[in-house]
């Protein structure tokens, strides 16, 4: 305990040293919260990021007019040893704040989002076009404001069409694609500006699957809102469920029993496995390598059947519970996991060998869709995308949760930043996950699988996070006066990585776009919420 206290004092001193006297530093649970005047936001965020080597983990805006008389913003940073947030109150009359984006490009989408959803105006933001809401949403209607009534239908209006950036010049053609695509994939709109086969610019228009999940959570009890977390995304269902549970547990100061923590980690590794293996198969499909695609699909199926035998659902739904897990893993199931993983692991190695020695595949993977380390860092890339571009972040190691504190999660990193690097990172991580899951399944601690949840304090904030197959998920939960959910912000890995995809594509051929996209393997549902 002493070392923790010493550490946080050091961090606090560091923070005080970096900021002006106007900043007020306080501890909230494990986090440091820094209250600054709204005019100091950009400078404070920039100083903390550079001074502490912190990365922007999420940003939340909320309507606090009923309590404090205004809106509030919290920029949450992940520092090497801790989380800290820079917070400011916003005058409800002007609803304006100085944009942080010019100093921190990673804040770009977050600020556009609070502009759409809360009507807060980030002054000096380079691009305030609509993001979450589309053209036919009426002006002046903000779903995350407390006076927005979801029971009243929002009319469709004749809005100004979305302004895409156009490139002009001889031979430049614009290729619009989507939101409905030819394959069985999620919806989104892409605008390519191309000369011949080469893409000069890619612009995305997303949020077609926006379901209003964060608003739906408001007013629900923490237990009720868990289903919303779990239905944010299919492929990351468990990562979201666990991140949400951890946020609420942090808020309530609840401890999860050791067995429950181990089961969470075990199942999270099973989630990573079926995703990574499936993604590698899909990357084969992206270059038309049918044998590899089939092989990957078959292995993924074996893993999803295992999920169903263990959790009753092929996407590991219905496992999460506040304070632990809902389902125990019986001895026979633990044995099933070990045997199945042993079999699939052998097949996986043969699959990898097949892919790596097929020159037509590697030819397409190599050098395609490159992202430089500096770009990945500036845009706040996470997960496989970041680790393929030379960044080492992995929450399982950096800020261990569930049972990861007692596990050796190897550092997997590649530097080339291309499709091949992303494939290689997935292959290495799959191997590591096989080992981690085997270790967890063979040695589950005894004990209860859940703890009683205390009632939630009012106006408290909790932060939960997981390293999903796609990268870090950060869930931010705040309670209201009666202990129900007042604000719930889900920041998925895909939220951070979509801008990185748009950067990876220019300079490549149009037909390489599906491959590059598959190599990032982002969720639309996770992003759009």
């Amino acid at each position: 305990m002493t070392s923790v206290a010493v550490q946080s004092v050091t961090l606090e001193d560091q923070v005080r040293g970096l900021l002006t006297d106007r900043a007020v530093v306080r501890h909230t649970g494990e986090r440091l919260a820094v209250e600054v005047p709204v005019t100091d936001l950009p400078e404070s965020c920039a100083r903390l990021q550079h001074g502490l080597q912190a990365t922007l983990a999420t940003m939340v805006g909320y309507d606090d007019r009923a309590r404090s008389g205004g809106y509030r913003l919290a920029y949450v940073f992940q520092a090497p040893d801790n989380w800290l947030s820079v917070e400011a109150a916003i005058d409800p009359e002007t609803a304006a704040f100085p944009s942080v984006t010019p100093r921190l490009p990673a804040a770009h989408l977050y600020e556009r989002e609070v502009h759409d959803m809360l009507g807060l105006v980030p002054e000096g933001h380079p691009d305030l076009r609509r993001l979450v809401l589309h053209d036919d949403w009426p002006a002046g209607v903000y779903p995350l404001r407390k006076d927005f009534d979801p029971a009243i239908p929002v009319p469709r209006v004749e809005g100004a069409p979305h302004r895409f950036h156009h490139l002009h010049g001889e031979g430049i053609v614009e290729i619009p694609v989507g939101p409905i695509h030819a394959g069985v994939i999620e919806p989104g709109h892409f605008r390519f500006a191309a000369v011949g086969e080469v893409v000069l610019h890619l612009e995305t228009r997303l949020f077609y699957t926006h379901r209003g999940i964060e608003k739906l959570a408001e007013g629900k009890t923490a237990a009720q809102a868990l289903a919303l977390a779990e239905h944010t995304c299919g492929a990351c269902a468990l990562s979201h469920a666990v991140a949400y549970c951890q946020a609420v547990e942090a808020l309530a100061g609840a401890e999860v029993p050791g067995r429950a923590a181990a089961i969470r980690s075990l199942l999270l590794e099973l989630e990573r496995l079926y995703n990574h293996v499936g993604d590698l198969g899909n990357m084969c499909a992206g270059v038309g390598f049918a044998v590899g695609a089939s092989h990957g699909a078959w292995l993924k199926e074996l893993l999803q059947r295992l999920n169903e035998r263990v959790a009753g659902n092929r996407f590991l739904r219905g496992v999460g519970r506040l304070g632990g897990v809902r389902r125990d893993i019986e001895t026979s199931q633990a044995l099933d996991i070990q045997q199945t993983l042993h079999q699939v692991r052998g097949e996986f190695e043969r699959f990898v060998e097949l892919v790596l020695e097929t020159s037509s595949v590697m030819e397409r993977f190599r050098g395609t869709g490159r992202v430089e380390t500096e770009s990945a860092r500036a845009l706040g890339a996470v997960g496989v995308a970041a680790r393929a571009s030379g960044l080492t972040g992995d929450l399982r190691r950096d800020q261990p949760y569930a049972a990861y504190g007692a596990l050796m999660v190897p550092e997997v990193v590649q530097s080339q930043g291309d499709v091949q690097a992303r494939a290689q990172v997935r292959i290495e991580e799959t191997r590591a996950s096989f080992a981690l899951a085997q270790q967890l399944a063979s040695d589950l601690p005894d004990g209860p699988i859940s703890a009683r949840m205390p009632s939630l304090p009012p106006f408290a904030v909790g932060l939960g996070y997981t390293e999903s197959p796609r990268g870090s998920n950060v869930h931010w939960v705040r309670t209201g006066a009666d202990g129900t959910i007042d604000r719930y912000r889900i920041r998925s890995a895909s939220f951070c990585n979509w801008p990185v995809v748009a950067l990876a594509v220019p300079g490549n051929m149009v037909p390489d776009f599906p491959l590059i996209n598959k190599s990032f393997e982002l969720c639309y549902a996770c992003l759009d919420r």
Binding site: P179, L216, A227, A237, V291, A297, E301
Partner: protein
Amino acid sequence: MLNVLRAGLRMGRVTTSYPASRDPVNPAYRGRPALEASRCTCCSDCVTACPAQVISLVGSTLRLDLAGCIFCGLCEDACPEDAIHLTPEFELAAENRADLVEVWNVSGGQAVTPRQNGAVAGNVIPATEARRLNGRIRTLLARSLHIRHMDAGSDNACDWEIAALLGPVYDVQRLGIDVVASPRHADMLLVTGPVTRHLEPALRATYEAMPRPGLVVAVGDEACGGGVLKGSYAVAGGVDRVLPVDVYIPGSPPRPQALIHGILLALGGTQPYRQPQTVGTE
């Protein structure tokens, strides 16, 4: 080249023969909830626990709408009398929305009458056109069905399962079924998701682009009945609020075999889900 050949030979045949023969039942799978009505004391704990709000209790009539059910089993956990439990039954597709509403008459532990079809709240667009032409569609398409998948705001689980139908294990091409790129080539629109506000125009346009007669199949909790997203400003709350639906496939998501069952049901090739005629009181 030799490696590729070797890999293919070694992998062998992994394709299921479903529906010709049944795959082994997984007892852990969470499918249709069943009620032992004699145990029910009308405490309504299940009603409170249900995150999808598909259970209601009025007097001694307990209704459970399978269309929006997420099969989480929280009703089972909440029931103090052990009266409700989830079965591994997964072939739940039905042609009528009302057939998915389970109605149990429970009064003080006594099972009273067999179930009957339930009423469905909200403005459901009736499936008239395709239903009228169903016999003809079935004759025409039974051996060659072209499907256009449409994600209308799904959480992508249903879509991953549809993609699995095209993989080596479920391989629906063996049943004369294929997924096509354009709605203009499609006989069936397979829709996932609750129909978000932002995708509703695209869904309508896709439907309009399909040749007639065409079938519409709603896949999963959100497409069938809104799932946990009911009441959001951003969703319609189910495909049948926007288009006429011929078949509903419940599930969160429906497993691939359940998708095959539902698709074949639309072609008249399988039996729809029918609620058992007697209440289990044994």
